[in-house]
Amino acid sequence: MTMLEDRSTTNAKLNSKVPTGALADKWDTFKANAKLVNPNNKRKFKVIVVGTGLAGASAAATLAELGYQVDAFTFHDSARRAHSIAAQGGINAAKNYQGDGDSVSRLFTDTIKGGDFRSREGNVYRLAQVSVNIIDQMVAQGVPFAREYGGLLDNRSFGGAQVSRTFYARGQTGQQLLLGAYQQLSRQIGSGGVRLFNRCELVDIVVIDGRAAGIVTRDLLTGQVTSHAAHAVVLATGGYGNVYFLSTNAMNCNVTAAWRAHRRGAYFANPCYTQIHPTCIPQADETQSKLTLMSESLRNDGRVWVPKNADETRPAHQIPDEDRDYYLERLYPSYGNLAPRDISSRAAKRLVDKGQGVGPLKNGVYLDFSAAINRLGRNVVEERYGNLFEMYERIAGENPYEVPMRIYPATHYTMGGLWVDYELQTTIPGLYAAGEANFSDHGANRLGASALMQGLADGYFVLPYTISNGLAPLLNKSVPGTDHPEFKRVEAEARDRYQAYLNVKGTRSPDYFHRELGKIIWDYCGMERDRNGLEKAISEIPALYDEFKKDLRVTGTGEGVNQTLEKAGRVDDFFQLGMLMCKDALTREESAGGHFRVEYQTAEGEAQRDDENFCHVAAWEWTGDANNATRHEEQLSFETLQLATRSYK
């Protein structure tokens, strides 16, 4: 297309392909000029969609409705299990149903600012535009969003916004949206539009003549490795937060699909942008396998404190006020306990590091509701937070009406991911990435209730247009089938890789290595990073990775179900990603959003960006050595918004 301009200055592959023209017109311009595939020709094209979360299920269902042959893949037993299901809070949309001044451009502005000016304007504006269609679509599908008594949709407000634009279904918005998309996908499976491969994990991508030709999968029930060819491949495989071992991600979330694509030539963008959520239940013991997020809304009525004395031994209720440090109220008097996610997270970490943490492992801070209970009465508190208190008691075994909750930050989302252009296409033509798996829309930090929005935007309203634009030129051209030697070669490589895990016959389980890797990444590339720590991590990870290769123990065989073997493959990829993350964090010599470098902060402890040198996307190219990737830059330019420093003082 002639109206596309090339913004990248450093690498020809990093052409964002954002249409020229006014921001508000870009998406319309694209749609008006995109190539289409005639309805009768659509069935000649096969599209593979990997992952059945919000982005994957919505893309697969929509593409099948349009008439493409769709093969959908999930490693779960059912498409409905994807981790989108765990999102609690809600989904943003610029509907302005509350008449409180919301608009597409305001949602756009909030998202760019929230992302600390590290996202692409064109993509974000499009996201804000299609947000309104998402709500219409999901309501039509029967998502039971919360309603006012008059029967109209209810909204709540969320962090980083001054309007109420968040639609919600109790504390289960992600579940309800995913079930909506899953049901639509199910309809297509039922009618034969989609072929679903369940319990089937992607283990490699096949690239032939520079174009994605298909994927290689491993059947988790039989261990069989098979090839699947297609005209286009969509990866909607989620984020990589589980690199930390302990995160709020589901146990099976992994980076394998994105990482294998990266190894085949897809650039990986901004891996160091990870988001920490301040209110999770702290780790209770060494056996712990994952962390659970508690809704941020709790901070509206809870007061955060730690004992002033690191050697404090009294139970919380016996500690008098003068021996408590309500540090958020002290440090950020105007926002107090509602200070933004990253700021309150870091404050908690500093106190815990100083030994002032609470709980048996001294690894949390108190979130105390006694003042609220005294002021509002237990009934009001129960009405507002009853279900959250129950959930806390179920997990922590303490009654938060009597004992203050203990909270601590944990990883729950990753903004980084596969680099994609405006069409959500990676640097491998024919390979697309959607949802959390791509890097595109949240910049360095994601706003609450925007993950669900992005997943559905990509799957329902972006990919169906951009994929036809990519497929149209392929009409009546033959593409390689699975009998192509490259498929056979990649298949054999994958078989050998899994056999190799079995052959090590060392002494340590994959979980052991995952836990150790997670500790390194959390300590040095978690909430706060600095040069020394990152350099240390970069030297420690390869050593541990070597041990992994020599001392791994995978019992059982490669035939039939073997969850230990599955885990080994995923941990292998996490090791390689971990190295890249640390390297990315090391080379980004500024603080931005979720990436906080101790060396780059203001006097008040705020993140200090370096727009002069780092107003760009870092996109990494695989070179064959995980510790030696090549860094490319996609410059970000802001035509509509002025680069500004955020302040929550």
Binding site: R195, N198, T226, E559
Partner: protein, 254 residues
């Protein structure tokens, strides 16, 4: 890795494309488990009506032989002379038999369905939370009640197992005498009591189930459904059980 010998698993697709064969609508309804439960509920209502009115009619025993025997005569003359003698009674009987057969057939086929639904049982002990004695013994209580009905007919309708009267012959119309003579045998009285207690158990769950199976569900009356079921069962059981006890205690005698 060695290539597995297991067949390649096929993807899932087109699962809802097979055309469905539709039969005449009542048969179609009855073809599914939900439909069979509907049939059980409807036939259950008919059988409930029978047990209730049977019990009420038998209460005439307490007014003496003439009243009871007259009641039996009255049943034969329902709608007489508009309809011939016994015709309405036979229609009712046939309807009742039909309902009983429907109830039994549905129960039997649902039991078979349920067996297939769990071909391998749990190998460890179950710890039930809500299932009651009544709900878990529906099959047993139903079978005992069925056996009782057979006995009851042989005893008081056909007289096959009744002790004969003073003249050495069973006279069906002498209802009062037949009942008393039958219950004077304590094992018969005991069987009658046990069977009716099980009938009560059957009703206490079955009557509640009717509401569920027919979809009669409304927050306004839901709380009363179990109370109604238990109350109905209690009324039927107390009435029925009182007869053998009254005979045994000599309150009612020839």
């Amino acid at each position: 890795m060695a290539t597995s010998s297991a067949p390649v698993r096929e993807p899932v697709t087109g699962t809802a494309t097979a055309p469905r064969v539709r039969r005449p609508f009542l048969l179609d309804l009855y073809a599914t488990a939900v439909g069979k439960k509907y049939a059980m509920a409807i036939s259950g209502i008919a059988l409930m009506g029978f047990v209730l009115f049977h019990m009420i009619g038998n209460l005439k025993m307490y007014f003496g032989a003439a009243d009871l025997n007259e009641y039996a005569e009255f049943l034969k003359k329902l709608l007489y002379p508009l309809a011939p003698k016994e015709s309405v009674l036979w229609i009712l009987r046939l309807g009742l038999i039909g309902m009983l057969v429907l109830h039994l057939h549905a129960a039997w086929s649902l039991t078979m369905l349920n067996r297939r639904a769990r071909p391998v049982r749990y190998q460890s002990a179950r710890d039930y939370q809500e299932a009651s004695l009544a709900s878990r013994s529906m099959r047993l209580s139903g079978i005992v009640v069925l056996a009782f009905i057979v006995w009851h007919l042989l005893d008081l309708t056909f007289g096959v197992v009744n002790t004969v009267g003073a003249d050495g012959e069973f006279v069906r119309a002498e209802v009062y005498a037949n009942v008393v003579r039958s219950f004077e045998r304590w094992p018969v009285a005991l069987f009658y009591v046990v069977a009716n207690l099980l009938l009560g158990l059957h009703l206490s769950h079955g009557v509640w189930s009717i509401f569920q199976s027919l979809g009669w569900n409304n927050p306004r009356f839901n709380a009363w459904r179990t109370a109604f079921a238990r109350g109905f069962a209690a009324v039927v059981v107390i009435g029925n059980v009182s007869f053998p006890i009254a005979v045994t205690l000599g309150i009612v005698s020839v």
